[in-house]
Protein backbone atom coordinates (compact mmCIF):
# COMPACT_ATOMS: atom_id res chain seq x y z
CA UNK A 1 0.00 0.00 0.00
CA UNK A 2 1.32 3.43 -0.90
CA UNK A 3 2.21 5.57 2.11
CA UNK A 4 -0.19 8.57 2.17
CA UNK A 5 1.48 11.96 1.87
CA UNK A 6 -0.25 14.96 3.43
CA UNK A 7 -0.09 18.66 2.73
CA UNK A 8 -1.79 21.86 3.83
CA UNK A 9 -2.12 25.37 2.41
CA UNK A 10 0.89 27.64 3.10
CA UNK A 11 0.86 29.70 6.30
CA UNK A 12 -0.72 32.65 4.48
CA UNK A 13 -3.78 30.48 3.96
CA UNK A 14 -4.73 30.55 7.64
CA UNK A 15 -5.60 33.21 10.17
CA UNK A 16 -5.22 31.76 13.68
CA UNK A 17 -6.13 33.29 17.01
CA UNK A 18 -5.35 31.60 20.30
CA UNK A 19 -8.46 31.83 22.50
CA UNK A 20 -7.61 29.77 25.57
CA UNK A 21 -6.68 26.10 25.45
CA UNK A 22 -8.40 26.12 22.05
CA UNK A 23 -7.43 28.00 18.90
CA UNK A 24 -9.77 29.55 16.34
CA UNK A 25 -8.53 29.05 12.77
CA UNK A 26 -9.99 30.82 9.76
CA UNK A 27 -9.19 28.78 6.66
CA UNK A 28 -9.03 31.37 3.89
CA UNK A 29 -9.53 29.03 0.98
CA UNK A 30 -12.77 27.60 2.32
CA UNK A 31 -14.06 30.52 4.38
CA UNK A 32 -14.69 28.05 7.22
CA UNK A 33 -13.83 28.75 10.87
CA UNK A 34 -12.56 25.83 12.97
CA UNK A 35 -12.11 25.84 16.74
CA UNK A 36 -9.47 23.23 17.51
CA UNK A 37 -7.35 21.77 20.28
CA UNK A 38 -3.72 20.70 20.30
CA UNK A 39 -2.07 19.27 18.26
CA UNK A 40 -4.16 20.53 15.32
CA UNK A 41 -2.57 24.00 15.02
CA UNK A 42 0.85 22.35 15.25
CA UNK A 43 -0.05 19.80 12.57
CA UNK A 44 -1.14 22.56 10.22
CA UNK A 45 2.02 24.55 10.82
CA UNK A 46 4.14 21.45 10.11
CA UNK A 47 2.29 20.63 6.89
CA UNK A 48 1.95 24.21 5.61
CA UNK A 49 3.34 24.26 2.10
CA UNK A 50 5.11 20.94 2.64
CA UNK A 51 4.44 17.28 1.85
CA UNK A 52 5.00 14.81 4.67
CA UNK A 53 4.03 11.25 5.50
CA UNK A 54 2.81 10.26 8.95
CA UNK A 55 6.26 9.19 10.16
CA UNK A 56 7.84 12.49 9.16
CA UNK A 57 5.00 14.42 10.76
CA UNK A 58 5.48 12.48 13.99
CA UNK A 59 9.14 13.42 13.93
CA UNK A 60 8.26 17.09 13.49
CA UNK A 61 5.72 17.23 16.27
CA UNK A 62 7.10 15.02 18.99
CA UNK A 63 10.32 15.64 20.87
CA UNK A 64 10.62 12.23 22.54
CA UNK A 65 12.12 9.76 19.99
CA UNK A 66 10.62 6.79 21.82
CA UNK A 67 7.11 8.17 21.34
CA UNK A 68 7.77 9.01 17.68
CA UNK A 69 8.35 5.31 16.92
CA UNK A 70 5.29 4.10 18.82
CA UNK A 71 2.32 2.51 17.02
CA UNK A 72 -0.17 4.23 19.28
CA UNK A 73 1.25 7.66 18.48
CA UNK A 74 1.08 6.91 14.76
CA UNK A 75 -2.51 5.73 15.05
CA UNK A 76 -3.57 8.79 17.05
CA UNK A 77 -1.95 11.09 14.53
CA UNK A 78 -3.54 9.23 11.64
CA UNK A 79 -6.94 9.65 13.26
CA UNK A 80 -6.38 13.42 13.57
CA UNK A 81 -5.26 13.57 9.94
CA UNK A 82 -8.37 11.72 8.79
CA UNK A 83 -10.58 14.24 10.59
CA UNK A 84 -8.64 17.18 9.19
CA UNK A 85 -8.81 15.73 5.70
CA UNK A 86 -12.58 15.41 5.97
CA UNK A 87 -12.99 19.11 6.70
CA UNK A 88 -10.43 20.07 4.13
CA UNK A 89 -7.79 21.56 6.41
CA UNK A 90 -5.25 19.07 5.11
CA UNK A 91 -5.33 17.07 1.90
CA UNK A 92 -3.61 14.14 0.31
CA UNK A 93 -0.75 15.43 -1.82
Amino acid sequence: MVEPIYTADPASGFHSVRLDSLTAIYHRRSGVTHVVAEPVPEIIVSLAGKQLNVAQLCGDLIADPALVEGDETRRALQARLDELEEVGLVSLA
Binding site: R28, R29, S30, E86, G88
Partner: protein, 341 residues
Protein backbone atom coordinates in the same frame (compact mmCIF):
# COMPACT_ATOMS: atom_id res chain seq x y z
CA UNK B 1 -41.66 51.52 -12.01
CA UNK B 2 -43.85 49.10 -13.94
CA UNK B 3 -41.26 46.70 -15.26
CA UNK B 4 -37.60 45.84 -15.00
CA UNK B 5 -36.21 47.54 -18.08
CA UNK B 6 -34.16 50.00 -16.05
CA UNK B 7 -31.87 47.16 -15.01
CA UNK B 8 -30.62 46.02 -18.44
CA UNK B 9 -30.52 49.67 -19.47
CA UNK B 10 -28.03 50.47 -16.72
CA UNK B 11 -26.08 47.22 -17.00
CA UNK B 12 -25.50 47.95 -20.69
CA UNK B 13 -24.20 51.49 -20.01
CA UNK B 14 -23.41 52.10 -16.33
CA UNK B 15 -22.81 55.83 -16.84
CA UNK B 16 -26.56 56.19 -17.36
CA UNK B 17 -26.94 56.13 -13.58
CA UNK B 18 -26.23 59.87 -13.71
CA UNK B 19 -29.83 60.24 -14.86
CA UNK B 20 -31.36 58.44 -11.87
CA UNK B 21 -33.21 60.11 -9.03
CA UNK B 22 -33.82 58.56 -5.59
CA UNK B 23 -36.90 56.70 -6.78
CA UNK B 24 -35.04 55.35 -9.79
CA UNK B 25 -32.15 54.16 -7.63
CA UNK B 26 -34.42 52.47 -5.11
CA UNK B 27 -36.28 50.65 -7.88
CA UNK B 28 -33.05 49.69 -9.68
CA UNK B 29 -31.57 48.19 -6.53
CA UNK B 30 -34.76 46.29 -5.61
CA UNK B 31 -35.15 44.91 -9.13
CA UNK B 32 -31.50 43.88 -9.28
CA UNK B 33 -31.83 42.10 -5.94
CA UNK B 34 -34.99 40.29 -7.06
CA UNK B 35 -33.32 39.22 -10.33
CA UNK B 36 -30.16 38.09 -8.50
CA UNK B 37 -28.12 40.64 -10.43
CA UNK B 38 -27.25 43.04 -7.61
CA UNK B 39 -23.66 41.79 -7.36
CA UNK B 40 -23.20 42.02 -11.13
CA UNK B 41 -24.67 45.53 -11.11
CA UNK B 42 -22.35 46.47 -8.25
CA UNK B 43 -19.39 45.29 -10.29
CA UNK B 44 -20.48 47.33 -13.30
CA UNK B 45 -20.72 50.39 -11.06
CA UNK B 46 -17.24 50.15 -9.53
CA UNK B 47 -15.58 53.52 -10.06
CA UNK B 48 -18.83 55.21 -11.11
CA UNK B 49 -19.96 58.14 -9.01
CA UNK B 50 -23.16 57.13 -7.19
CA UNK B 51 -25.05 58.53 -4.15
CA UNK B 52 -23.56 57.38 -0.81
CA UNK B 53 -26.57 55.32 0.26
CA UNK B 54 -26.57 53.50 -3.10
CA UNK B 55 -22.82 52.94 -2.70
CA UNK B 56 -23.49 51.28 0.66
CA UNK B 57 -25.96 48.84 -0.88
CA UNK B 58 -23.70 48.10 -3.83
CA UNK B 59 -20.63 47.57 -1.63
CA UNK B 60 -22.66 45.17 0.51
CA UNK B 61 -23.46 43.19 -2.61
CA UNK B 62 -19.78 43.07 -3.60
CA UNK B 63 -18.93 41.70 -0.17
CA UNK B 64 -21.61 39.03 -0.56
CA UNK B 65 -20.31 38.10 -3.98
CA UNK B 66 -16.77 37.78 -2.63
CA UNK B 67 -17.88 35.37 0.09
CA UNK B 68 -19.99 33.48 -2.44
CA UNK B 69 -16.99 33.18 -4.73
CA UNK B 70 -14.83 31.69 -1.98
CA UNK B 71 -17.53 29.18 -1.08
CA UNK B 72 -18.21 28.21 -4.70
CA UNK B 73 -14.54 27.58 -5.49
CA UNK B 74 -14.17 25.58 -2.30
CA UNK B 75 -17.15 23.38 -3.17
CA UNK B 76 -15.56 22.75 -6.55
CA UNK B 77 -12.28 21.83 -4.87
CA UNK B 78 -13.96 19.45 -2.41
CA UNK B 79 -15.79 17.79 -5.31
CA UNK B 80 -12.45 17.45 -7.13
CA UNK B 81 -10.91 15.78 -4.06
CA UNK B 82 -13.89 13.42 -3.79
CA UNK B 83 -13.61 12.43 -7.46
CA UNK B 84 -9.80 12.18 -7.62
CA UNK B 85 -9.71 8.37 -7.09
CA UNK B 86 -12.31 7.89 -9.87
CA UNK B 87 -10.30 9.54 -12.61
CA UNK B 88 -13.53 11.25 -13.56
CA UNK B 89 -13.24 14.92 -14.53
CA UNK B 90 -15.34 17.44 -12.61
CA UNK B 91 -16.86 19.68 -15.28
CA UNK B 92 -18.19 22.84 -13.68
CA UNK B 93 -21.35 24.46 -14.99
CA UNK B 94 -22.82 27.95 -14.67
CA UNK B 95 -21.66 30.38 -11.97
CA UNK B 96 -18.93 28.26 -10.46
CA UNK B 97 -17.46 27.69 -13.93
CA UNK B 98 -17.46 31.41 -14.72
CA UNK B 99 -15.68 32.19 -11.49
CA UNK B 100 -13.18 29.34 -11.75
CA UNK B 101 -12.33 30.31 -15.32
CA UNK B 102 -11.90 34.00 -14.45
CA UNK B 103 -14.63 35.08 -16.89
CA UNK B 104 -16.49 38.42 -16.78
CA UNK B 105 -19.69 36.51 -16.21
CA UNK B 106 -18.24 35.58 -12.82
CA UNK B 107 -17.70 39.16 -11.64
CA UNK B 108 -20.09 39.94 -8.80
CA UNK B 109 -22.07 36.83 -9.52
CA UNK B 110 -24.32 35.42 -6.82
CA UNK B 111 -23.72 31.68 -6.90
CA UNK B 112 -26.14 29.08 -5.56
CA UNK B 113 -25.56 25.37 -5.73
CA UNK B 114 -22.55 23.67 -7.29
CA UNK B 115 -23.61 22.29 -10.68
CA UNK B 116 -21.39 19.71 -12.37
CA UNK B 117 -21.56 17.55 -15.48
CA UNK B 118 -20.36 13.95 -15.47
CA UNK B 119 -20.59 11.13 -18.02
CA UNK B 120 -23.79 9.16 -17.68
CA UNK B 121 -21.96 5.85 -17.35
CA UNK B 122 -20.02 7.14 -14.30
CA UNK B 123 -23.13 8.29 -12.41
CA UNK B 124 -23.21 5.39 -9.96
CA UNK B 125 -19.52 5.76 -9.11
CA UNK B 126 -19.92 9.52 -8.73
CA UNK B 127 -22.94 9.09 -6.48
CA UNK B 128 -21.02 6.65 -4.27
CA UNK B 129 -17.97 8.94 -4.06
CA UNK B 130 -20.09 11.90 -3.01
CA UNK B 131 -21.94 9.94 -0.35
CA UNK B 132 -18.61 8.68 0.92
CA UNK B 133 -17.22 12.22 1.14
CA UNK B 134 -20.05 13.49 3.33
CA UNK B 135 -22.85 14.52 0.97
CA UNK B 136 -26.37 13.28 1.74
CA UNK B 137 -29.69 13.16 -0.09
CA UNK B 138 -31.96 16.14 0.44
CA UNK B 139 -35.14 14.85 2.11
CA UNK B 140 -36.03 11.98 -0.18
CA UNK B 141 -39.58 11.94 -1.48
CA UNK B 142 -40.46 8.82 -3.42
CA UNK B 143 -42.15 10.60 -6.32
CA UNK B 144 -39.58 13.37 -6.77
CA UNK B 145 -36.74 10.89 -6.41
CA UNK B 146 -38.01 8.58 -9.13
CA UNK B 147 -38.91 11.54 -11.33
CA UNK B 148 -35.38 12.90 -11.03
CA UNK B 149 -33.69 9.62 -11.79
CA UNK B 150 -35.88 8.57 -14.66
CA UNK B 151 -36.74 11.81 -16.37
CA UNK B 152 -34.55 14.69 -15.30
CA UNK B 153 -30.99 15.23 -16.42
CA UNK B 154 -29.50 15.02 -12.98
CA UNK B 155 -29.27 13.06 -9.74
CA UNK B 156 -31.65 14.21 -7.02
CA UNK B 157 -29.95 17.04 -5.16
CA UNK B 158 -27.34 16.28 -2.51
CA UNK B 159 -26.42 18.42 0.48
CA UNK B 160 -23.17 18.26 2.42
CA UNK B 161 -23.78 17.22 6.02
CA UNK B 162 -21.16 19.57 7.54
CA UNK B 163 -21.08 22.50 5.14
CA UNK B 164 -24.81 22.51 4.39
CA UNK B 165 -24.14 23.22 0.72
CA UNK B 166 -25.87 21.64 -2.27
CA UNK B 167 -24.47 19.88 -5.30
CA UNK B 168 -26.41 19.08 -8.47
CA UNK B 169 -24.90 16.34 -10.60
CA UNK B 170 -26.00 16.47 -14.25
CA UNK B 171 -25.32 13.94 -16.96
CA UNK B 172 -26.79 16.01 -19.77
CA UNK B 173 -28.09 19.53 -19.99
CA UNK B 174 -31.78 19.15 -20.60
CA UNK B 175 -34.43 16.92 -19.08
CA UNK B 176 -34.69 13.67 -20.99
CA UNK B 177 -38.34 14.18 -21.79
CA UNK B 178 -37.70 17.29 -23.86
CA UNK B 179 -37.89 16.88 -27.60
CA UNK B 180 -34.45 18.47 -27.99
CA UNK B 181 -31.54 16.20 -27.08
CA UNK B 182 -28.13 17.87 -26.89
CA UNK B 183 -25.03 15.78 -27.35
CA UNK B 184 -23.70 15.43 -23.82
CA UNK B 185 -20.80 13.20 -24.85
CA UNK B 186 -19.57 15.86 -27.26
CA UNK B 187 -19.74 18.49 -24.50
CA UNK B 188 -17.76 16.31 -22.16
CA UNK B 189 -15.19 15.50 -24.83
CA UNK B 190 -14.68 19.20 -25.60
CA UNK B 191 -14.34 20.24 -21.93
CA UNK B 192 -11.48 22.60 -21.11
CA UNK B 193 -9.11 22.09 -18.17
CA UNK B 194 -8.74 25.03 -15.78
CA UNK B 195 -5.83 26.02 -13.55
CA UNK B 196 -7.14 24.36 -10.42
CA UNK B 197 -7.59 20.89 -11.94
CA UNK B 198 -11.30 21.41 -12.56
CA UNK B 199 -12.89 21.61 -15.99
CA UNK B 200 -15.39 23.85 -17.73
CA UNK B 201 -17.29 23.49 -20.98
CA UNK B 202 -15.70 24.92 -24.12
CA UNK B 203 -16.57 28.59 -24.77
CA UNK B 204 -19.14 27.67 -27.42
CA UNK B 205 -20.75 24.92 -25.34
CA UNK B 206 -20.84 27.27 -22.36
CA UNK B 207 -23.00 29.66 -24.33
CA UNK B 208 -25.17 26.85 -25.68
CA UNK B 209 -25.69 25.65 -22.13
CA UNK B 210 -26.79 29.12 -21.05
CA UNK B 211 -29.24 29.18 -23.96
CA UNK B 212 -30.58 25.77 -23.01
CA UNK B 213 -30.93 26.80 -19.42
CA UNK B 214 -32.81 29.93 -20.38
CA UNK B 215 -35.49 28.38 -22.55
CA UNK B 216 -35.89 24.72 -22.23
CA UNK B 217 -35.02 24.20 -18.59
CA UNK B 218 -37.44 26.66 -17.04
CA UNK B 219 -40.22 29.16 -17.41
CA UNK B 220 -37.83 32.08 -17.97
CA UNK B 221 -37.60 32.86 -14.27
CA UNK B 222 -34.09 34.14 -13.75
CA UNK B 223 -34.06 34.89 -17.46
CA UNK B 224 -32.51 38.35 -17.16
CA UNK B 225 -29.57 36.94 -15.30
CA UNK B 226 -29.18 34.13 -17.80
CA UNK B 227 -29.08 36.63 -20.66
CA UNK B 228 -26.60 38.80 -18.77
CA UNK B 229 -24.37 35.71 -18.41
CA UNK B 230 -24.63 35.26 -22.17
CA UNK B 231 -23.79 38.89 -22.84
CA UNK B 232 -20.67 38.58 -20.70
CA UNK B 233 -19.64 35.30 -22.32
CA UNK B 234 -20.00 36.77 -25.78
CA UNK B 235 -17.94 39.82 -24.79
CA UNK B 236 -15.18 37.55 -23.47
CA UNK B 237 -15.13 35.04 -26.33
CA UNK B 238 -16.76 36.76 -29.29
CA UNK B 239 -13.48 38.24 -30.51
CA UNK B 240 -11.75 34.85 -30.71
CA UNK B 241 -10.95 33.62 -34.20
CA UNK B 242 -13.70 31.32 -35.51
CA UNK B 243 -15.95 31.64 -32.46
CA UNK B 244 -19.21 32.37 -34.27
CA UNK B 245 -18.57 29.64 -36.80
CA UNK B 246 -17.94 27.09 -34.05
CA UNK B 247 -20.98 28.38 -32.18
CA UNK B 248 -23.14 27.74 -35.23
CA UNK B 249 -21.74 24.21 -35.61
CA UNK B 250 -22.22 23.38 -31.95
CA UNK B 251 -25.75 24.76 -31.86
CA UNK B 252 -26.65 22.57 -34.84
CA UNK B 253 -24.99 19.56 -33.16
CA UNK B 254 -27.09 20.10 -30.05
CA UNK B 255 -30.29 20.95 -31.92
CA UNK B 256 -30.39 24.48 -30.51
CA UNK B 257 -30.11 26.81 -33.53
CA UNK B 258 -33.56 28.34 -33.21
CA UNK B 259 -33.13 28.88 -29.47
CA UNK B 260 -29.66 30.35 -29.93
CA UNK B 261 -31.04 32.75 -32.50
CA UNK B 262 -33.77 34.00 -30.18
CA UNK B 263 -31.36 34.29 -27.25
CA UNK B 264 -28.92 36.36 -29.31
CA UNK B 265 -31.68 38.75 -30.35
CA UNK B 266 -32.89 39.15 -26.77
CA UNK B 267 -29.34 39.78 -25.58
CA UNK B 268 -28.79 42.38 -28.24
CA UNK B 269 -32.10 44.07 -27.48
CA UNK B 270 -31.54 44.20 -23.72
CA UNK B 271 -27.79 44.63 -23.36
CA UNK B 272 -26.67 45.93 -26.79
CA UNK B 273 -24.55 42.76 -27.11
CA UNK B 274 -22.61 42.61 -30.38
CA UNK B 275 -23.94 39.47 -32.07
CA UNK B 276 -23.46 37.84 -35.44
CA UNK B 277 -26.49 39.01 -37.47
CA UNK B 278 -26.65 35.82 -39.52
CA UNK B 279 -26.99 33.62 -36.41
CA UNK B 280 -29.48 36.00 -34.84
CA UNK B 281 -31.80 35.98 -37.82
CA UNK B 282 -34.14 33.04 -37.43
CA UNK B 283 -37.75 33.48 -36.34
CA UNK B 284 -38.44 36.90 -34.81
CA UNK B 285 -42.09 36.22 -34.10
CA UNK B 286 -42.79 36.05 -30.40
CA UNK B 287 -39.80 38.09 -29.25
CA UNK B 288 -42.14 40.67 -27.74
CA UNK B 289 -43.74 38.05 -25.46
CA UNK B 290 -40.34 36.86 -24.29
CA UNK B 291 -39.25 40.40 -23.53
CA UNK B 292 -42.49 40.99 -21.68
CA UNK B 293 -41.91 37.91 -19.56
CA UNK B 294 -38.22 38.69 -18.94
CA UNK B 295 -39.01 42.19 -17.70
CA UNK B 296 -41.99 41.14 -15.54
CA UNK B 297 -40.73 42.66 -12.27
CA UNK B 298 -41.79 46.00 -10.78
CA UNK B 299 -39.93 48.66 -8.79
CA UNK B 300 -40.83 46.98 -5.49
CA UNK B 301 -39.26 43.71 -6.62
CA UNK B 302 -42.64 42.04 -7.05
CA UNK B 303 -43.40 39.58 -9.81
CA UNK B 304 -45.54 41.42 -12.32
CA UNK B 305 -47.61 40.25 -15.31
CA UNK B 306 -49.00 37.18 -13.56
CA UNK B 307 -51.00 35.81 -16.51
CA UNK B 308 -47.97 35.98 -18.80
CA UNK B 309 -45.85 34.26 -16.15
CA UNK B 310 -48.41 31.50 -15.75
CA UNK B 311 -48.55 31.02 -19.51
CA UNK B 312 -44.80 30.56 -19.66
CA UNK B 313 -44.81 28.26 -16.65
CA UNK B 314 -47.33 25.88 -18.18
CA UNK B 315 -45.66 26.09 -21.58
CA UNK B 316 -42.24 25.28 -20.14
CA UNK B 317 -43.60 22.10 -18.58
CA UNK B 318 -45.44 21.29 -21.82
CA UNK B 319 -42.27 21.25 -23.86
CA UNK B 320 -40.48 19.21 -21.24
CA UNK B 321 -43.04 16.47 -20.84
CA UNK B 322 -45.41 14.45 -23.01
CA UNK B 323 -49.01 15.59 -22.33
CA UNK B 324 -50.11 12.57 -20.30
CA UNK B 325 -47.07 12.78 -18.12
CA UNK B 326 -47.56 16.52 -17.69
CA UNK B 327 -51.11 15.93 -16.49
CA UNK B 328 -49.94 13.29 -14.03
CA UNK B 329 -47.07 15.48 -12.81
CA UNK B 330 -49.27 18.53 -12.21
CA UNK B 331 -51.93 16.35 -10.55
CA UNK B 332 -49.42 14.83 -8.14
CA UNK B 333 -47.93 18.24 -7.34
CA UNK B 334 -51.40 19.67 -6.71
CA UNK B 335 -52.28 16.76 -4.40
CA UNK B 336 -49.06 17.29 -2.43
CA UNK B 337 -49.72 21.01 -2.06
CA UNK B 338 -53.25 20.28 -0.84
CA UNK B 339 -51.86 17.89 1.74
CA UNK B 340 -49.42 20.55 2.97
CA UNK B 341 -52.06 23.34 3.26
Amino acid sequence: MRDARILPWILAQPARTAMLDARGWTALLAIAQAERLLGSLAHRLIGINVPPSARRVLDGALLSAETGRTQALWEGEMARRAFAPLGCPVILLKGTAFVAAGLSAGLGRQIGDLDILVPRDRLDAVEAALLDAGWEWVKPDAYDDSYYRTHMHELPPLIHRDRDTMIDVHHTILPLTARITPDADAMIAAAVQLENGLFSLSPEDMLIHAVAHLFADGDLSGGLRNLWDMDRLIRDHGGTEGYWKRLHERSARHGMTRHLSRALRLCHHLFETPVDPYLAWEGRKGDVFYLGRLLARNGWGQEARKPLRLAFYIWSHWIRMPPLQLARHLWTKWRKNQAKA
